[in-house]
Amino acid sequence: MTQNRLHIRGGQLIDPANQLDAQQDLYIADGKVLAIGQAPDGFQPDQTIDASGRMVIPGLVDLCARTGEPGNLSKANIASETLAAVSAGVTTMVCPPDTDPVIDSTAVAELIHSRSAQAGLARVLTIGALTQGLEGERLASIHSLKAIGCLAFSNADRAIVSSEVLRRAMEYAVSCDVPVFLRAEDYWLGRGCMHEGAISTRLGLPGIPSTAETIALSRDLLLAEQTGVRLHFCRLSTAAAVEMIADAQQRGLPVSADVSLQNLHLTEMDVDFLQPDTHLRPPLRTQRDRQALRKGVADGVIGSICSDHKPLDLDAKTAPFSDTEPGASSIESLLPLIIKLAAGDSVSLQQALAAVTCNPSRTLGLDLGQLSPGASADICIFDANDDRLLQRRDLLSQGKNSPYLDWSVSTRVSHTLMNGRIVYQAQPE
């Protein structure tokens, strides 16, 4: 009667949701975690995976990862990017509404859901558009989109210029009981291509001052307070923003935040004319900002880390810097760079892993990203001592626009499971 029974044996289980970090066996049946540690009575596995010497964690939940479908900025699509995801231990990808066409109609949301079911690899969840076409003028059909499965609503990277429109959108979201995700950036001050500072001055590139983020953030926080909406800020980039969010949280506002992998590892010093993979939105800022963002993760002010994955073709990146399309192909770097971050002394391993498992899941009101009995068996097994350089040819994503090429990493995923089924298994070397 029970099928697909799996026994994952001898691995180091790390599950921040349950504060678990121990060498324990894991038992799976019917696509769910059955037990940890002790085998249930009479349990006969159909398959055993030997995870000795490896780590076993919940499959990663990436709060912002684009598949390129629908859209034509690149050859990437749901099939290619969900494959890249599972090869890197990511079992759930949360897709922002900035597809082409935008996720402001149920047809587009349905397309994404069915394509990802068809590919049968990583789970693709959708965030619906807050305004029609992301234009910032009319409300999108939030209720219908929620009914079809959108878990939250945002305006992606497009600023909502009118405070009136934003206020009404928040109010509508409250009555539909959905959270709103916003990336804070002022439209006028945000017209640049890198952080405004000594380096943008030296390079002669138009800059985006930190105030572009903080001005929008403070407006959005005040409106959130006024409307009572559950607000999540996407991809913070400034130290000042971290302070403002911490402050709001202390005052009891239901505000959460995430940060992108790139802003945790890179700064404006990494920006260069000939490195268009460092052309990003939000921009890479100063070392001080990076430090504050890391501390924000350690203190829990920033609950989640996302890859902000955006696969792009070579054409989109081969032009003078300010003419290139911003974005990095980063989903395959999420796990290795989280581990790298935890190896430093700013963030602990539990915190780092929580930021890509249970925390993002909780922000979406879901029960993913944990190894509790009864939870969906989305699991990643990886070797944490495989020292190598990240190379272009290793990337499975259709986007090779990674700013991390030639970085030394030490993780290699051996197995990824989705709903108790192996969706990725590394080839033996």
Partner: protein, 322 residues
């Protein structure tokens, strides 16, 4: 930074001329010394030397400019090279042909050198990084980033009048924010070791963090001009004269326009420079522009000599590689 690696060959000789940043003092002085030799050529009957005969130079101007283009054309002609000027409207590239496609098509025409002008910073670097190995690239201005040949001709002019850089106080006045000339001049003057470098302008036209490039910032013209030996005024573009950056050309002139009276606090033998074309009554009044301090006209002829120097240096580095 990539500038040094892109521009220089393994022996440290100039292969491409993209920015002053990344070039050491000796190389800058070499350029100035080479230009000295070419100054005389323009005064002969036959204003040519056969140095680059048989070579093809292409002016790739993505941003139109009659002045700069003509100067490069003259410099190429005086070196006996064949020159081709192509004005590529940015909209043409938007029709589908990428920057690099344009490049491949031109390479097929047996070019030896591209002189590139583009409205986006980093364009010349992109081209230099992607061009065939026998071709050198000269940056004739990229966005707000650099205009190295202009900076060199300004520095050449200064050297002809002042000889010793070490004792000089130099002020750059005007729209530094949008000026690639200013950025290149700052690098050049600091590398050559001037005593003090100042930028003077309203806060709206001075970019964030420019002190990191090694300058003192002044918003008051009188204070900024006190005791200077060289004043370089930058051109104010029409579209900047009214709007969020400045209220009007006349107010700009009142506060930052150069007049004899305002220059009285500078050294008696201070020289006044301008990359041209000048806006009389905005950056500078006619009395100064045409007066004894002005070396503006000389800058133009020096521009040809500097470009001849840079073109022959890069071409010879590549010739030496083959």
């Amino acid at each position: 930074m990539t500038d040094k690696q892109l521009q220089l060959d393994p022996q440290g000789r100039l292969k491409h001329f993209l920015s002053i940043e990344g070039l050491n003092r000796k190389l800058l002085v070499d350029i100035l010394d080479n230009a000295e030799q070419f100054v005389g050529v323009g005064e002969r009957t036959v204003k040519k030397v056969p140095l680059l005969r048989g070579k093809t130079i292409v002016n790739l101007f993505f941003e139109p400019s009659t002045r700069t283009r003509t100067t490069f054309e003259l410099a190429a002609t005086r070196l006996s090279a064949d020159i081709l000027s192509i004005d590529i409207e940015k909209s043409a590239t938007r029709k589908g042909e990428t920057l690099l496609d344009t490049l491949r098509n031109l390479e097929a025409m047996h070019s030896d050198m591209f002189v590139v002008r583009h409205s986006n910073s980093g364009a010349a670097h992109l081209i230099a990084a992607n061009v065939a190995p026998h071709i050198s690239v000269i940056n004739a201005g990229d966005g707000r980033h650099a205009h190295p040949s202009q900076a060199m001709l300004d520095v050449f002019t200064i050297r002809r009048h002042k000889q010793d850089f070490y004792k000089l106080k130099v002020a750059i006045v005007g729209d530094v924010m949008h000026s690639r000339v200013a950025r290149s001049e700052i690098h050049a003057l600091n590398t050559l070791g001037v005593q003090e470098l100042r930028v003077i302008g309203p806060k709206t036209l001075i970019p964030t963090g420019i002190e990191d490039m090694g300058v003192h910032v002044y918003h008051d013209l009188q204070e900024g001009l006190r005791d200077v030996d060289v004043v370089i005024t930058l051109r104010l573009q029409h579209e900047r004269m009214e709007g969020p950056l400045l209220p009007s050309a006349s107010e700009y002139f009142k506060l930052y326009g150069l007049t004899e009276k305002k220059l009285s606090v500078a050294k008696d033998d201070a020289i006044v420079m301008h990359p041209g074309p000048i806006n009389r009554g905005v950056e500078i009044d006619s009395e100064v522009a045409d007066g004894k301090r002005s070396v503006i006209l000389q800058q133009v002829s020096h521009g040809i000599a500097i470009r001849m120097a840079v073109m022959s240096m890069t071409m010879s580095t590549l010739a030496g590689q083959q």
